[in-house]
């Protein structure tokens, strides 16, 4: 294997086989000392009968293996990452420095409250700031992700109806353009979902909404701007209709980047909103690491907020663990403090007078991309977009080129593809969200690449698009076979399913 593996290495970019394909020694390079005497006797029952199957490699070989694989990653610090609906904005270095300050990094949730007043003050301020930004004054910082915030929100809405003795309300209306997490969160909270069709303009169909409203409706879940990148211009009427029917409106804050500092979901009539701090407030997207999805609510839902919460009593910040009608704890302690503090740092860096620049630049960047591409890619819903623009492959499909081909070609051109085939209601969707942190030159490089791809389609020069990506170590992967016949286990005789 090793000869083949190295032949694909390009310069200092390393092809890398599996650890087991790389091994060349009978045992690992780490020699542990033996044990003897009393200890050996007491451990005898636990001694392995067969050696552990650990690849025979030296420590530097092992370290290089993982570092090389990490170099295959693409991140916002490697290049442009216009993944629509994901808000892949740059995470400022200064935020990392701030959360590593000893007073923030080396505290424990169980330590006496008078010794952690600084952290509590910052988290309390963050609660206030998020409440102000959302227009929904009461905030929990506990949920550990956006979808976790959705679940907490739907649990609060259910508790609200039940507390009024209105326990027939179990139906949640979800537009067909919604993020997939919305119906999943509602179901997990013990509610049923009904899909609401979108109108031809990509927005909620008011007649379809009215037809589904009734005494069994607990809530409408909606994202504004929605996943087509369009503002739900009927939002006032939508909220009024739902409220008049006795339901509440849950806002998915995934697209808050289009509104922050400009318009407040609470003022539109939304009752409850989760905020993805890894989107709007530039905390790391994780890769499985800790996340946070605070939820902001209005007065109606405030009694049901999770505990513990932070309150300010005179000059003292206190952790409050009781709440008669609270849905209880949805996470340990006060949430993912390190992530939340990064969000607080991002907000503080702009300050309340400049926060609107986030949304303005995000919307401007998306519209710049839209303006440069709208004559060569089909735009399903014409007009100005918000923080992301939606294109389709309709015009390229005539030349046999699909969204997937375009996305793969972008990899060859050094960029992460946009979100593809979402929202589901648009055939061949390409959802592009540049965010406010990209320079015009970066946007131009991306637009030039997209124009070049479109020109290749027109010229019939499509082989390069169907074969893309040509440059990475792994070419186009067979997604169908990977899903139909996944190979998940490796042993000494090779892979097996």
């Amino acid at each position: 294997m090793s000869a083949n593996a190295y032949s694909a290495t390009r310069g200092l970019q390393h092809e890398e086989p599996l650890l087991f394909e790389r091994e060349h020694k009978a045992a690992t390079a780490i020699a542990l000392p033996g044990v003897s005497g009393e200890i050996a006797a007491s451990l005898f029952a636990f001694v392995r009968k067969t050696p552990a199957r650990i690849p025979g490699l030296s420590e530097p070989e092992t370290v290089r293996h993982f570092v090389r694989l990490s170099q295959w990653n693409h991140g916002i610090e490697t290049g442009f990452y216009p993944l629509g609906s994901c808000t892949m904005k740059y995470n400022p270095r200064v935020n990392e420095q701030i959360v590593r300050l000893p007073g923030l990094a080396y505290v424990h949730p169980e330590q006496p409250q008078d010794s952690v007043q600084g952290v509590l003050a910052l988290l309390f301020e963050l609660q206030q700031w998020l409440g102000e930004i959302a227009g929904l004054p009461h905030v929990t910082l506990q949920p550990a992700a956006g979808a976790h915030g959705e679940l907490a929100g739907m649990m609060m809405i259910r508790a609200y109806h039940d507390a009024r003795g209105d326990n027939k309300r179990r139906k949640v209306l979800v537009p067909d353009s919604a993020h997939g997490t919305n119906p999943a969160s509602a179901v997990l909270a013990g509610l049923n979902t009904v899909e609401i069709k979108s109108a031809a303009n990509g927005r909620i169909d008011l007649d379809a909404l009215k037809a589904n409203l009734g005494e069994d409706v607990a809530a409408l879940m909606l994202t504004n701007p929605n996943t087509t990148g369009m503002f739900e211009s009927d939002i006032g009427e939508i909220c009024e209709l739902v409220h008049r029917a006795g339901g509440l409106v849950y806002g998915d804050g995934a697209n808050l980047n289009a509104l922050v500092g400009i318009a407040r979901p609470g003022d539109m009539g939304i009752d409850c909103l989760h905020i993805n701090v890894h989107k709007t407030f530039a905390t790391p997207h994780g890769g499985g690491g800790p996340g946070a999805g605070p939820v902001a609510v209005n007065d109606l839902l405030a009694p049901f907020l999770p505990v513990p919460r932070i309150e300010k009593n005179g000059d003292v910040y206190q952790i409050i663990c009781e709440g008669e009608q609270s849905i209880g704890a949805v996470f340990g302690s006060l949430g993912q403090t390190g992530v939340l503090l990064r969000a607080a740092a991002y907000i503080a860096a702009f300050g309340c007078n400049d926060l609107h620049k986030i949304a303005e630049d995000a919307v401007l960047n998306a519209n710049y991309v839209l303006a440069r591409l709208k004559d060569v890619y089909h735009v399903p819903f014409p007009g100005l977009c918000k923080h992301e623009c939606l294109l389709t492959d309709e015009w390229q499909e005539r030349h046999g080129v699909k969204t997937l081909d375009i996305a793969k070609r972008l990899i060859d051109l050094g960029m992460h593809p946009m979100t593809v085939y979402f929202p589901l209601i648009v055939h061949g969707a390409m959802l592009i969200e540049p965010t406010e942190t990209e320079a015009k030159e970066t946007l131009d490089t991306f637009c030039d690449a997209m124009l070049e791809i479109a020109a290749q389609c027109e010229a019939g020069d499509t082989a390069i698009l169907h074969d893309a990506p040509l440059l990475p170590f792994r070419r186009r992967l067979d997604e169908t076979q990977a899903a139909r016949k996944p190979v998940l286990v490796w042993n000494d005789s090779g892979f097996s399913s």
Partner: protein, 129 residues
């Protein structure tokens, strides 16, 4: 694009073959149309309903997963699920290669109710719109 004349269709791109009386326990065989499988792309998984499940019209009773999306399949008729196409568990690709034949999803013993059903001509017109 194939649209057999002996089947009925829905605006959600499902097809149904009705044998016997809708109200008197006739059988409806259901699947997704050629247009649907084409739009979804390679099907990688089909979640079949349980035999014996009572379904109402418009209820999501099966799930079709492709490399692009996960989509509900809605009940075209009301009734009881009497048979499911277990072959799809090992070979979901049959929904792509033979959507009106080997790609059928479930057979339902009908109890009377149906969604608005379109014949071949009406479905063709609907697709053209």
């Amino acid at each position: 694009m194939t649209i057999p004349v002996d089947l009925k269709y829905t605006k959600e791109h499902e097809w149904v073959r009705i044998e016997g009386e809708i109200a008197e326990g006739g059988t409806a065989t259901c699947g997704i149309s050629d247009h649907a499988q084409e739009a979804l792309g390679d099907i990688v998984f089909v979640e079949l309903p349980e035999i014996g499940r009572i379904i109402t019209v418009g209820e999501a009773f099966a799930v079709v997963e492709s490399v692009k999306a996960v989509s509900d399949v809605y009940a075209v008729v009301a009734g009881e699920v009497v048979e499911v196409n277990e072959a799809l568990e090992a070979e979901p690709e049959k929904v792509n290669t033979d959507c009106y034949g080997g790609g059928w999803i479930a057979k339902i013993k009908m109890s009377g109710d149906t969604v608005e059903l379109l014949d071949e001509a009406a479905y063709t017109t609907f697709l053209e719109e």
